[in-house]
């Protein structure tokens, strides 16, 4: 009896490689845990019996009106208004992940279209897109983000749009480079000789071949975006209070780091663990994609 060897597609190869990389698997588990924390934030509130914005002025603050350290009542301590740090971190995960995914999605969507069009069609379109990319990458992002948010007023939507509007350029640059090299391959020429339309060539020949690098870059863009959101929140220009965000918590914690270490350390750890996990996963996917190509 002959055993049938099933030809494995490229994605299955990537998946097989990735499964063997225990660092990447661990990172994925951590990311799932953080997603779980975000999804189950109301559950955390229920278990601790503490509302996310409720100020426990008697139980949650010391006699001097200072934050209380971690205890059986408040597992991760309280903040300067007597709110439960654990519950706020859980709800803060929602903000970070929402902005991370939404702004990355926006950047990748714009960057993918711009890069594909510029790289495939070339000519004047390419010149315009390439110059625009150069321009966006040359502008001091943080100063512009701050100026924009200061006139529009802080808000979650504006944060997503501002970060997305500045992040698409690097995606477009990478996609354009990839498309430029694929455009000249024999199989694209063959498809064109057979009379395939540009749209079909892009969909069948180009997109599948850039999907790997784009996936890697997308995974690595999420932590960058999360850091950008946290930085804006830290500067007081993220989602307006009392929306719980890790960056805003750290902004308030600045004034209390001498008396309340937990107020700095726990939101900071949540932020660092999240970005670290996404970067580790991104590195793992990159190695897996490179390994599957071999």
């Amino acid at each position: 009896m002959r055993e049938c060897v099933e030809p494995s597609g490229p994605w299955r190869m990537v998946w097989k490689q990735l499964r063997r990389d225990w660092v990447a698997v661990g990172a994925a588990v951590v990311i799932l845990a953080i997603v779980g924390l975000a999804v189950c934030a109301p559950l955390v509130a229920q278990v601790t019996r503490h509302g996310v914005d409720t100020q426990y002025r008697t139980t949650g603050l010391t006699a001097d009106g200072l934050p209380r350290p971690p205890s059986r009542e408040f597992w991760l301590g309280t903040d300067d208004l007597g709110r439960d740090v654990l519950v706020r971190i859980a709800y803060g995960a929602r903000t970070s992940l929402l902005v991370g995914v939404a702004a990355t999605g926006m950047a990748v969507a714009i960057g993918l279209v711009a890069g594909l069009v510029a790289g495939y069609f070339g000519g004047a379109v390419d010149t315009v897109v390439a110059r625009l990319v150069d321009l966006v990458l040359s502008l001091p992002f943080l100063l512009f983000a701050i100026a924009l948010v200061s006139v529009t007023g802080p808000g979650l939507a504006i944060v997503i749009v501002v970060i997305g509007a500045f992040s698409w350029a690097s995606v477009a640059r990478i996609v354009r480079g990839l498309v430029l090299s694929i455009r000249e391959r024999e199989y694209v020429e063959a498809a064109r000789a057979l009379g395939a339309s540009s749209w079909r060539i892009l969909r069948v020949a180009v997109l599948p071949n850039i999907a790997g690098p784009v996936l890697v870059y997308t995974t690595l863009l999420i932590p960058t975006v999360i850091v950008a959101e946290a930085t804006l929140s830290f500067l007081g220009l993220g989602a307006p209070p009392p929306t719980p965000t890790w960056g805003a918590m750290l902004n308030e914690a600045v004034h209390y780091y001498q008396v309340a270490w937990w107020y700095v350390v726990f939101p900071g750890a949540a932020l660092l663990v999240t970005t670290l996990a996404f970067n580790l996963l991104g590195d793992g996917i990159r190695d897996a994609v490179a390994g599957a190509d071999r």
């Binding site: 040359s138 502008l139 100063l143 100026a147 006139v151 500067l235 750290l250 600045v254 780091y257 932020l271």
Partner: protein, 320 residues
């Protein structure tokens, strides 16, 4: 060839400057600041507000304000701030020494830490040292600048001071001309904050480039000639590995600005970044426009310098 390359880069720089200043004014066109009312006071009559607006030139259409800004900027005059009528040029010049001190020191540390750790990591490929350095680089790569600043403030400034070892002050800036020793002491933590975050990608980049170069034939040839490993690593490999590092440097000069803004805020250094944030909060358009113009010019100049240096190092670049 070289000349046309430089001309093209400067041309792009001018376009970026025009776009950056236009963008600043466009932002304020969408949402005009209510500075006149704030200045005139709550009790002010509409006539007084109109008078203040006229004095600040806010009664003109925004495109006229923009053209007059450009006209004056071309003549070296950045205008006056709305609140105290101080020339913006003076504000920039006063904030500049603190920012320059921060940037120059941090950049030296940044490249030193980044390149050295990358080379060591590659030279000891797959050893404990390599794993440790790569791991640390990833942690700092994932670390937001403000978080690292806060952690350093907490552990190295506050905890050490409480323990009776007050080496690191908790922020602020002391001019170099006033007290060089204190200048250094106050800048150590800000330098470290900015440098560690910026260095992390360079550790990774240098390591990857070194490993790539070390696999090349000419390295094997050099080794088989009997040259010592140390000699090959530092003389032959490093020189070629630095090419991609130089390219990245051009891209990252702009990133430096964001890091400077955050570091100055965390350590309360009265430099350009903190001045910009304060101006943005007060909607002081001339100061914001002046600093954005100044910062963009600095980034573009640095970018051109890096590109030209790179074109000198690697003649292949000039052809494109």
């Amino acid at each position: 060839m070289m000349l046309s390359f430089v001309v093209r880069r400067v041309g792009l720089g001018v376009v970026v400057l025009a776009a950056a200043t236009t963008a600043v004014f466009a932002i304020f066109y969408v949402a005009p600041p209510d500075v006149a009312r704030a200045l005139a006071g709550r009790q002010a009559t509409p006539e007084t507000v109109a008078l203040v607006e006229k004095r600040l030139g806010l009664d003109r259409p925004i495109w006229q304000q923009y053209l007059s800004f450009v006209w004056h900027a071309l003549h070296g005059d950045l205008g006056y701030d709305y609140y105290h009528q101080v020339p913006v040029g003076t504000i920039v010049l006063e904030a500049l020494p603190a920012t320059l001190s921060l940037v120059v020191g941090a950049s030296i540390l940044w490249l030193l830490i980044g390149v050295v750790s990358g080379v060591v990591s590659a030279a000891r490929h797959r050893t404990v040292t390599d794993r440790l350095l790569t791991g640390l680089a990833l942690v700092f790569y994932s670390m937001p600048t403000f978080l690292l600043g806060l952690l350093l403030l907490f552990f190295l400034s506050y905890r050490l001071s409480v323990a009776g070892i007050p080496i690191f002050p908790a922020g602020s800036y002391v001019p170099l001309t006033e007290d060089p020793a204190n200048w250094l002491r106050h800048l150590l933590l800000p330098w470290l904050t900015l440098a560690l975050v910026l260095a992390a990608p360079y550790t990774r980049l240098t390591r990857a480039a070194m490993l790539d170069v070390m696999g090349q034939d000419y390295i094997r040839t050099a080794r088989s000639k009997g040259l010592r490993k140390r000699h090959v690593v530092y003389r032959h490999a490093l020189r070629n590995a630095l090419n991609p590092v130089t390219t990245q440097l051009g891209i990252d000069v702009g990133q430096l600005i964001g890091g400077v803004v955050v570091t100055e805020t965390v350590f309360s250094i009265d430099g350009l970044g903190k001045t910009a944030i304060d101006a943005i909060v007060q909607q002081d358009l001339p100061v914001i426009a002046g600093i954005v113009l100044f910062a963009s010019t600095a980034v573009i100049a640095a970018n051109i310098l890096v590109d030209v240096a790179y074109a000198f190092l690697d003649p292949r670049v000039r052809l494109h």
